[in-house]
């Protein structure tokens, strides 16, 4: 542990994850207590109390994150929390300990900030629900686990948060457990995450056995030794496995199938977990261990490739979705693909920059979608919407702001973060040029599906039947967070203005100390640097593509669903395969899930019951039959007895003689 970090053992960092945990326990207790009371006074006063406790806890956590941020901003070194021994493994001891450094303080700010807004929104969204207190208990627990993930200073602590958030996403996706398809979606999410976690575990063990400790400080410093030839493939394998874990959690190919199904959860959940926080933990992990990944160039290029591929596949799937939240889900997978593309080309800080801006505008889009669905009493199919601009002006306005940021219209936050990634990819040269090209195409697709969505939902003819559905604007509780997020999505860009704007790249400098070791190793390998001219050209191209595609898509879908239906009639099977993510999910079902299930029943009936049990029972029956034959010998016929005795006596005599000789 290098001594530059502030003197060890402050207690207050524990409050950041601690407070939401306390909030979860409190609201959980209220929920369980509520169960004991007879059903009738369900609407008891405890309702808003639970929401208030949760929001209070979030606000407090946010406050302490800011305290940490300010402390670091003031030039203090990383803040370490008191550490408690946890698992003694004989060689080294894993301990509960937190560390606030530049990266984790930024993450806590995003998590608690966006989390707070979503909690306020949820207070309104979930009003009439019976499991109200339970919902907030789970939400608070989730935030606590996410904070544990980002703040822990060793990998095992991160793993606690890692599986903790997996659990909360399972609980929240399956929150309305009465419909079994939601429960199945929850189980699918947990199992797919677990596959990723298994890879994470193996990666951890490689690091533990080769480096002898799992503290980030130790790993990052050790990894720089990687340059020496004697540990090459082991640490690359560890990096690859950790990336596998990241894929599971951040829904990249091949483990992204669970995210679209995760939309079964309530919308605030999708906003918080499946847009802003949990899905970004994979990116956080790679950035946290950037020296390790930098020292494994092969793994980096793989990450870039998978990122680009995921972005493209998810993007195309989003084009064909009819469900509003489906579009947003695939869009999230696509944007995450961008972040991994950035990591692939070594642009760690731009990945984080995109993570932050994505958190703002994707949370906004989800919440706005939530308010639309709330207004259209649970209707999610875009083909049954249209013309809601008049009924929900505030939601429409904020939605458009989010859409603008997502599609990367000039000066929006999305524009700056996405183009920075594309610029870095372009600068990388060689292989990453291909990544840049794919990125560019996906940027076009993103703009298209975003504005298709806006057009279908808010403009054109009203395609719902008036009697059943009365779309109405959501209450203040839900719209205020929308406005705040809209501001952040629009203004978020200032965090990382490109160099050509002669403005400091705030985020880049802030993350420099964390990212520097990784950059050093990468710089040693290759260093593409862009001239101002190419920067401007790239910015221009990006802006042009975004505006063009947005305009085209908006007008194509302005009238209604004709162009969708036309596309489906022209090439039906392409439309179908695109709408469920190139059929990957069905392929898993057929290639993986079915064979496992049939193998299980085969083992259980065939091998276990028939073979082993059969052998055991067979043994029993064989002994029974043998017993029959033996006992039938004693049949009472004296002559036979005499014969056996005489014969046996002779046999004995023969043995004796044989012995004698």
């Amino acid at each position: 542990m290098d001594t530059t970090i502030a003197e060890t053992g402050q207690l207050w960092p524990w409050l950041i994850p601690g407070l939401p945990l306390m909030g979860a326990l409190l609201t959980g207790a209220m929920h369980l207590a509520g169960l004991r009371r007879p059903k009738n006074d369900d609407k008891a006063t405890s309702k808003p109390l639970a929401a208030n406790i949760a929001i209070l806890a979030m606000a407090a956590a946010f406050a302490f994150s800011i305290k940490g941020f300010l402390a670091l901003r003031g030039g203090e070194a990383n803040i370490l929390s008191t550490s408690y021994d946890w698992i003694p493994t004989g060689d080294f001891t894993v301990s509960w300990s937190l560390m606030i450094d530049h990266l984790s303080s930024l993450m806590t700010l995003v998590v608690t900030g966006v989390g707070l807004l979503i909690h306020i929104y949820a207070a309104g969204y979930m009003k009439g629900d019976t499991g109200y207190a339970k919902f907030f208990a789970y939400l608070n627990l989730f935030v606590a686990m996410m904070l544990m993930l980002v703040l822990s200073d060793n990998m095992v602590g991160t793993f606690v948060g890692w599986e903790g958030v997996g659990l909360c996403s399972y609980l929240l996706i399956g929150f309305w457990y009465k419909d079994s398809w939601r429960a199945e979606a929850a189980q699918k999410a947990f199992v797919v995450n677990r596959i990723g976690d298994a890879a994470f575990l193996l990666g951890m063990f490689i690091l533990a056995t080769t480096l002898g400790s799992l503290d980030y400080s130790a790993i990052n410093s050790e990894a720089s030794l990687l340059a020496k030839p004697e540990l090459p493939w082991k640490l690359s394998l560890a990096a690859l496995l950790l990336f596998g874990g990241a894929c599971g959690k951040s829904a990249q190919i091949p483990l992204f199938v669970w995210l679209p199904d995760a939309m079964a959860g309530p919308t605030p959940v999708s906003a918080l977990i499946h847009a802003a926080t949990m899905v970004t933990s994979g990116v956080y992990l790679v950035v946290r261990l950037n020296p390790l990944f930098a020292a494994a160039p092969l793994v980096l290029t793989l990450i870039g490739a998978i990122g680009a591929a995921t972005a493209f596949v998810a993007g195309t799937s989003a084009l064909r979705q009819r469900d509003l939240k489906g579009v947003l889900a695939y869009s999230t997978v696509s944007q995450l693909g961008y972040m991994f593309l950035a990591l692939g080309v070594g642009a760690f800080s731009s990945a984080i920059f995109h993570l932050v801006t994505h958190a703002f505008f994707k949370a906004l889009l989800f919440l706005a979608a939530g308010s639309v669905i709330h207004g259209m009493n649970k209707e999610q199919d875009m083909h049954k919407m249209g013309g809601l601009k008049a009924h929900m002006p505030k939601t429409c306005l904020t939605f458009i702001a989010g859409a603008a940021a997502l599609s990367g219209l000039p000066l929006m936050s999305g524009f700056f973060s996405k183009d920075e990634i594309l610029a870095q990819a372009f600068a990388g040269g060689g292989v990453s040029l291909i990544l840049w090209a794919v990125g560019l195409v996906t940027a076009a697709i993103t703009a298209t599906y975003t504005w298709r969505m806006v057009a279908l939902v808010f403009f054109g003819k009203e395609r719902f039947d008036k009697q059943a559905v009365h779309p109405h604007e959501s209450g203040a509780l839900m719209t205020t967070p929308l406005f705040v997020l809209a501001l952040l999505s629009v203004g978020g860009g200032i965090l990382g203005l490109p160099i050509v704007f002669h403005a400091p790249h705030i985020l880049g400098e802030w993350l420099a100390p964390v990212v520097e070791p990784g950059q050093a190793i990468l710089a040693a390998a290759h260093n593409g640097h862009l001239s101002h001219l190419t920067e401007w050209i790239l910015l221009g191209v990006g802006a042009m593509i975004a505006l063009g595609c947005a305009h085209l898509a908006f007008h194509a879908h302005r009238q209604g669903t004709q162009s969708d239906l036309a596309f489906e009639t022209k090439h039906p099977e392409l439309a179908l395969s695109l709408s469920n993510a190139w059929g990957i999910d069905r392929a898993y079902q057929v290639m993986l899930v079915q064979p496992v299930m049939t193998a299980a029943s085969a083992i259980s009936t065939l091998f276990d019951l028939a073979l082993i049990d059969g052998a055991v029972n067979g043994l029993g029956r064989f002994a029974q039959r043998l017993g029959q034959r033996v006992s039938r010998q004693a049949s009472g016929h004296l002559g036979a007895y005499g014969l056996t005795i005489g014969g046996a006596a002779c046999a004995l005599a023969a043995i004796w003689m044989w012995i004698g000789a």
Partner: protein, 513 residues
Amino acid sequence: MPLLTLIVFTPLIGAILIALVPVREVRVLRGVSFGITLLTALLGFLVWQEFDPNQAAFQLTESRPWFELPGALAVNYSLGIDGISILLVSLTAFLMPLVLVSASQSITTRVREFLVWLLIMEAGMLGVFLATDIFLFYVFWEVSLVPLYFMLGIWGGERRLYATLKFFLFTLAGSLVMLVGVIALVYLSGTLDIAALTQWAGTQPLEVQGWLFAAFALAFAIKVPLLPFHTWLPDAHTEAPTAGSVILAGVLLKMGTYGLLRFGIAMFPLAALEASTLFMILGALGIIYGAFLAMAQTDVKRLIACSSVSHLGFVVLGMFALTGAGLRGSVLQMVNHGLSTGLLFLLIGMIYERRHSRELADYGGIAKVMPLFAFFFVFSVLSSVGLPGLNGFVGEWLILLGAFEASPVLTAVSVTGVIFGAVYLLRATRLMLFGEITHTENKTLSDLTPRELGVLTPICLLCLVIGVMPGPFIQRTEASLAVIEQRLDAARDQQAARVELDLPDDQKPESAR
């Protein structure tokens, strides 16, 4: 005061008391027996306090001459406790009162006999963990079989006769082979005290250690159960009454793993080194095989039984990795498995009392009607799946870390067990708790009563404590495990030296020639 003798004989005297006391009504009998198990639990807590964590050898030892075997071999009644047995003794003492409370509802016929057998079993189990004379150990080892045989046979399900006969004969075949092993060990070494035997066995060449280890390992492998010998477990669990399966899963299976550690690895380090790959493979296979078995089950109790095969595969994998982390993890996982599977069986027992069916198909959506039950069920599923923050994770993580040091390939295979674990347990949760309420009977199920809550909460709390703060638990085993590790290192040097000797002369390094 003779703490260990007290802790072993309180349940026994209690059993005799219950058998003879002329009181008729059942409530008094249950109260008295609960009192007795509470007293034992108290004594167990006392032992936990008295235990000095940094002493590796047997502590709180008591020894009284019992009788003389031919060949001037003094058999004495001697008890002792060390790092390896402290966790299991405390687990037994902790579980029994809870089991008794839960059993008091489900068992309504021939209650007196049931309580007598329950108490005798507790004495037998405690005896197995505490005996430091190998004859006494063997007596307790087989005596602890009889009570479960009767509990299974009299209060079991439909196929109980088949299940109980199979259970008894399976375990007995192993223990009879072990009897020959014990006798050979005793007469070769000339002593019956386990500490002396361990000392003597360490000095023996591989050949002698080899077949002795095999004799012991067979009996314990059947009890664990390891792969080919596991078919008795699902039957025994499915047909056993709730109390029976909780004890069977909680403690009896651990006698196998405890034996493997004490009489396999600690006593015959050289042989353990040779056999470590085989047992690790069996462990890993057990994990995958158990998980696959569990996935195919429709009977929820049988599903949990198959999950036990998978969990104990982990314990054996960790133990025979013969590394620091592996040993610590396996000792801790013995306790964790006891707690989480114990919880699951208690819960299934409670729902069985209400619904009288074990088929998953008969359930669905009962989380709506029984939210408290749903909470506890999900909690125990998470503990047994190994969610970090709960007890299962600490053990499993240590085991996998330890096993990784020994053989990365096998660990990679075993880690898939973690995934399958999630699959079959969450599938069961989904089929039972979530979805629509399809059967009308499920609509009127009553939620957990305060008594049932009283049984479940202490276990859940313990799971949480071990998950967050496993320090004190692992610390108590450190000293004894350190001794075992030293013996293993010494054996490794011997093994290395021996390998050198086997090389043909020309390749032999200068020094060894």
